[in-house]
Amino acid sequence: MAEEKNILSVVDLHTSFTTDKGEVQAVNGVSFDLEAGKILGIVGESGSGKSVSAYSVMQILEKNGSIKSGQILYKGEDITKWPEKRMRDFRGKCCSIIFQDPMTSLNPVFTIGYQLKEAIKLHTNRKGKEAEERAVEMLELVGVNEPRKRIHQYPFEFSGGMRQRVMIAMALACEPDILIADEPTTALDVTIQAQILELMQDLQKKLGMAIIMVTHDLGVIAQMADEIIVMYGGRVCERGSAEDIFYRPCHEYTKGLLRSIPNVDSMGKRLQPISGTPINLLNMPKGCAFCPRCDEAMKICLEKQPPETRTPDGHFASCWKMIQAEIESGMIRPEDASGSGT
């Protein structure tokens, strides 16, 4: 059964924030599946709803944000229906998260040991000495030298990369099924980035958890992910395997993203940025969210949201341009593209 393969399924998730200026729909009907032990990459620019999707899974949104509709199925159970008390057990034990900025993500007034042990004591039966042993073991695992000495130190005595290692140790201390990494390397310098990514891959092999990798860095994604979803304006534009997305992109936004990163072929040529600015989530267009910035935009793009459609090679994209091409080549009949007004 397909249900059993997926440790986490997000179905038509809508998350929005109430602000003084109105309701901001940060996530607008996002769906994705995460297979146990696989790495899923969520790519998108700032404000595309990738982090909010991740926080929605953990239900650690800011006070003014809430999940409006949709399901989040963990091992087939809808966790959006779970009471807060049950969610507390979910966080840290079933699903952990590491954040973008390791410099501010650890509490400055508690020792590293205290913060690690706090997570361990919450979700396991280990207490006192045993919890401490586990903390030391985890620090060793993530490559912190002299862990026995280091657990008595405070976050300010650690460098950025080391703090991120501590964050990873803390997240994995209770062996969760899922690790969400919210731009885990953005705040680190390049050599450290590589080390952290390597560490994550290494740990994934050892511990076998699934990873949701949220990032705007296509390089990171290319290196790590099995499956990728590309997000824009709170919606999923395209999803498929890493190969599909990198070699056979179908959505104009994905193509634009790939054109804007340097590679060996583009050496000596100018990079083509995506023109325009990210959309205002307060004022979402009626049609395709990317349409105002899309070079290939058609009339229908302005009027109707493109439905998610299977691409020729079998991944999924939501783009009228692609749907049109498929209709013209006779691959699909117009009525198959549900909602198509052509």
Binding site: R91, T104, S105, L106
Partner: protein, 303 residues
Amino acid sequence: MGKYVVKRVLLAIVTIFIVCVITFFTMNAIPGGPFAGEKAKSPEVQAALEKRFNLDKPVGQQFVIYMKNLLHGDFGISAKTGREISDTISSKFSVSAKLGVMAVLLAVFLGVVFGSIAALCRNRWPDRLIIFLSTLFTSLPSFVLGSFLLVIFSVKLGLVKAWSPTNQNLILPVIALAMYPSAYITRLTKTSMLDVMGQDYVRTARAKGVAQWKVLFVHTLRNALIPVVTYLGPMIAGVLTGSLVIEQIFTIGGLGAEFVQSITNRDYPMIMGVTIFLAVFMVTMNLLTDIVYKLIDPRINLD
């Protein structure tokens, strides 16, 4: 840390010495003296008194004698009552301190609790009400508040005796004394809580599965109280050493009242005694604040 404390204590001694110098010479520069102006004394008595208190010598020499005695722990006797200064200070201070300790505890409790509530209910009615009241109490002078409390609870309602010679009820003066600092702590706690609640590490704590109340009391409050502690040191010193106004309104014979009286009386040894006591107390409280500061925020490097 030990080195730091020693350094601070040495500095404190310098500070206190400077306080002594300034007080001693300004005090002597003011016209009049302990034995001037009152009912006529015979020249012999006057001379004997001045000799007893070294007033017949030049001011510089007086100062040297005073400092010598002080180093032997001798504050001298009052020029008015003839009692030992140290006895007077300790008995008066115990009254002020008893009142002060209660006021400090009340102020910290109210301030932290209401500050936290205001932060948690941001922009809702409890927040608005608390901030309105704290603005009111920070701007209300203590003599107005003290008189109000007396009029309402003692005169109109008759709930508390305004004054009793044996067993004074301290509830009204404690409230009057605590209101300003508690209002101030409330605002400080609220601002600081809001700041900390938005920090990434609070989100990390939630993401670990820590219960909401524990996130609040362990991860948030400890960070939020750092600015409050900074204010606490000088505040405790101020409240404990007695408020002249409150002590006058509620007729409490504390150190604050004693201090003012000693100045009107030109009671030189008493002025010096009380000033030095207050200076030492203030310096000690500041040092304690810094040490506590270090204890709750490991990033502070005292050395």
